[in-house]
């Protein structure tokens, strides 16, 4: 159990590339922290610096108040789970899990009881004498977890531990990782690419982009109040829709129509000294089939008509994709997000608006649809800085 403090921690590679820049983060004892961001954002480098597998170029890392920068990994008393699991192929499951204890010269009976305890927690008891090669992906993942928990370290570091599993298993393991962490109450730093894991697992989420921390907050807060365009676009699936718009005397002109800004939005935008040209962000779930919205509710929003290109029925809900007049918003951050999700590889993929509609909606593919959206929920962003103009502190 420990508190981990990163104090302006930076990583600069010999060739001059800055991988991580002045990360400030205090992980409370027992907290579950997620590091998330597109590939190359520095999340794994940060984790490796905490682990001691990479040197810290500047700043200080403290565990329980003690400076750790110069300590070897083995002297930091933290365990790590790797994406590839890094199980020792020549050792049985039992030997794999016992390995850290043997290195620490723990006596045999303690080793045995600790390994068996961990195996029981992870449901690996009947596999203890098998070799990793004979295990399924999920079992290997659990062995890797077992090797981490068996010596009760001060903290767990997990580097995309679930990304080699198939989708269904990943969902199940996500729940069990969460349960396990709560049960053990061990401080955990968890790196992931997957924003579902980021949303569901952590107490707090650190969003990184190109080595810089974008925002640190609880998942729900990040979702509702993204600090900037990047966080807004990265968190949420399907992601937020972005459209260019113009502000003029309390009115907003956007491809979705012209309408008066709701009070809350106008107040925040004025306080933030919003420019004339802005980017409007609307989450897919803030759209609805206009026919399903009753009079009183529709007053707070705007209705527009559009051509439905594709309609995906998911059973519990429907995703409607439609094209709107004019261009979609485009900034460096949004392009980076598109590149990361691979959207720029799909022809025409970026030019659409996604709306999540009720399953009761009767709109049809290829037809015109009247769509309503909740204007009070929209967010405005500064196109040049990317900052959220409607950001409010909790």
């Amino acid at each position: 159990m420990a508190e981990i403090v990163l104090d302006k921690v930076s990583k600069r590679y010999p060739d001059g590339a800055l991988a991580v820049s002045e990360v400030d983060l205090t992980v409370a004892d027992g907290e579950f922290i997620i590091l998330v961001g597109p590939s190359g954002c520095g999340k794994s480098t940060t984790l490796n610096m905490v682990a001691g597998l990479e040197d810290i170029s500047a700043g200080e890392l403290r565990i329980d108040g003690q400076r750790m920068n110069e300590k070897a990994p083995k002297d930091r008393d933290i365990a790590m789970v790797f994406q590839s699991y890094a199980l020792y192929p020549h050792m049985s499951v039992r030997e794999n899990m016992a390995f850290p204890l043997r290195l620490a010269k723990v006596d045999d009976s303690t080793v045995r009881s600790k390994v068996e305890e961990a195996a029981r927690i992870l449901d690996l008891t009947q596999h203890l004498d098998r070799k990793p090669a004979n295990l399924s992906g999920g079992q290997r993942q659990r062995v890797a977890m077992g090797r981490a928990i068996v010596r009760s370290p001060k903290a767990f570091l997990m580097d995309e531990p679930l990304s080699n599993l198939d989708a269904k298993l990943r969902g199940q393991m996500r729940t069990s990782v969460s349960k396990l962490q709560k049960q053990l109450g061990t401080t955990t730093l968890y790196v992931t690419h997957d924003q579902t894991e980021a949303m569901t697992l952590g107490d707090r989420v650190v969003v990184l982009r190109a080595g810089y921390v974008q925002q640190i907050d609880s998942p729900q807060f990040l979702y509702e109040h993204p600090a900037n365009l990047f966080v807004a676009g990265f968190i949420g699936s399907p992601s937020m829709n972005f459209l260019p718009a113009t502000l003029e005397g309390g009115q907003i002109k956007s491809p979705l129509g012209s309408f008066a800004l709701p009070d809350r939005v106008r107040r925040l935008a004025e306080a933030a000294n919003a420019p004339r040209e802005v980017i409007v962000g609307v989450r897919p779930e803030h759209f609805e089939d206009a026919q399903l919205v009753d009079e009183t509710a529709s007053a707070g929003g705007v209705t527009f008509t559009a051509h439905v290109d594709v309609l995906e029925s998911m059973g519990s809900e429907k995703y409607a994709y439609f094209t709107v007049e004019g261009e979609l918003a485009s900034t460096a951050e949004l392009e980076e997000l598109a590149a990361d999700t691979g959207a720029d590889d799909v022809p025409g993929g970026g030019a659409q608006i996604v709306a999540r509609l009720s399953a009761a909606s009767r709109i049809v593919e290829g037809g015109q649809a009247s769509v309503w959206f909740d204007a009070t929920k929209l967010q405005l962003f500064d196109p040049s800085s990317g900052a959220n103009l409607t950001y409010e502190e909790a």
């Binding site: 682990a51 001691g52 597998l53 070897a72 990994p73 083995k74 933290i78 365990a79 790590m80 790797f82 590839s84 890094a86 020792y88 192929p89 020549h90 390995f99 850290p100 290195l103 620490a104 090797r147 010596r151 570091l157």
Partner: protein, 280 residues
């Protein structure tokens, strides 16, 4: 496998026949020399595959002559020493090639490749003269040195292919589990590298054991003459009336270790030969 469709009895029979052809092809010369070695002097010329009269006399003969026993000792000693040194040097170089970034890496790979293709006979003349000058001619060392040289490319290629397959992330994992660098090497990396090193050792040993050109050119007495070279001198040696039986027996003796290697380590030898060649 999917291309083969269902396995019918007919297919099975056809493949069995094909396999028998392969087995016969590979074994006939071996069985012939084996058969010769068990024939008595009178039945040696019968041209039959199965000896009419069995004898161990040929084996008894070679083991009482100093020539063969000395040659066998030379062969074993020289091959083992050359293998050990080549594998140690090769392991060091292959580790560097597979794991480290340093200038001259490509050059080293290029040099190894050149030497693998080098006409050994081109070295025989100069080495003959150099070794005479240095007093290495007709000594163990005089053979060990060229063996190491020509075994090194083989060792480096095979080993670096093996080393590239080792998941080096395990080294990190071991460090996180509390191991010192030395412990990480000894308890995690070394056990994983061992099979590759062992396979390479077998291949290198076979190479040294097999050599004839250097053995016959750089030796002159049984002080360092190895079995393949000694075999060819049995023909003219006067102490044997008809050397056929004894040559066959000696040939069988030096074939046994190779056959044993092949039987026990087939899978590894195949892996070693193929990985080095394609991925190198």
């Amino acid at each position: 496998m999917a291309m083969q469709g269902a396995i019918t009895a007919g297919r099975r029979t056809r493949w069995t026949l094909v396999n028998i052809v392969v087995v016969v092809y590979a074994l006939v010369p071996v069985l012939w020399i084996l058969s010769l070695s068990f024939k008595t002097k009178d039945t040696l010329d019968d041209g039959k595959f199965i000896p009419r009269a069995w004898t161990f006399q040929n084996y008894a003969d070679i083991f009482v002559t100093d020539d063969f026993v000395r040659a066998l000792v030379n062969s074993i000693g020289i091959s083992l020493i050359a293998t050990a040194i080549a594998v140690v040097f090769g392991t060091m170089a292959a580790y560097a090639i597979a794991r480290l970034d340093f200038p001259g890496k490509r050059l080293l790979i290029g040099i190894s490749l050149l030497i693998a293709m080098f006409p050994q006979v081109s070295l025989v003349t100069p080495l003959f003269n150099i070794e005479r000058t240095l007093g290495l001619f007709d000594t163990w060392l005089g053979l060990i040195i060229p063996y190491i040289t020509f075994a090194l490319p083989l060792a480096i290629y095979t080993l670096s292919a093996f080393f590239r397959e080792i998941p080096w992330e395990l080294e990190k994992a071991a460090k996180m589990d509390g191991a010192t660098p030395a412990q990480a090497f000894r308890r995690v990396i070394a056990p994983l590298a061992a099979p590759g090193v062992f396979t390479t050792a077998i291949l290198v040993f076979i190479f040294c054991w097999n050599d004839f050109l250097f053995a016959i050119s750089l030796t002159s007495t049984n002080a360092s003459r190895t079995v393949p070279a000694a075999l060819s001198f049995f023909t003219g040696a006067s102490q044997f009336e008809d050397p056929t039986g004894t040559i066959a027996a000696a040939a069988v003796v030096i074939t046994i270790p190779i056959v044993l290697f092949v039987l026990f380590f087939q899978r590894r030898i195949v892996a070693g030969l193929t990985s080095g060649a394609v991925k190198g």
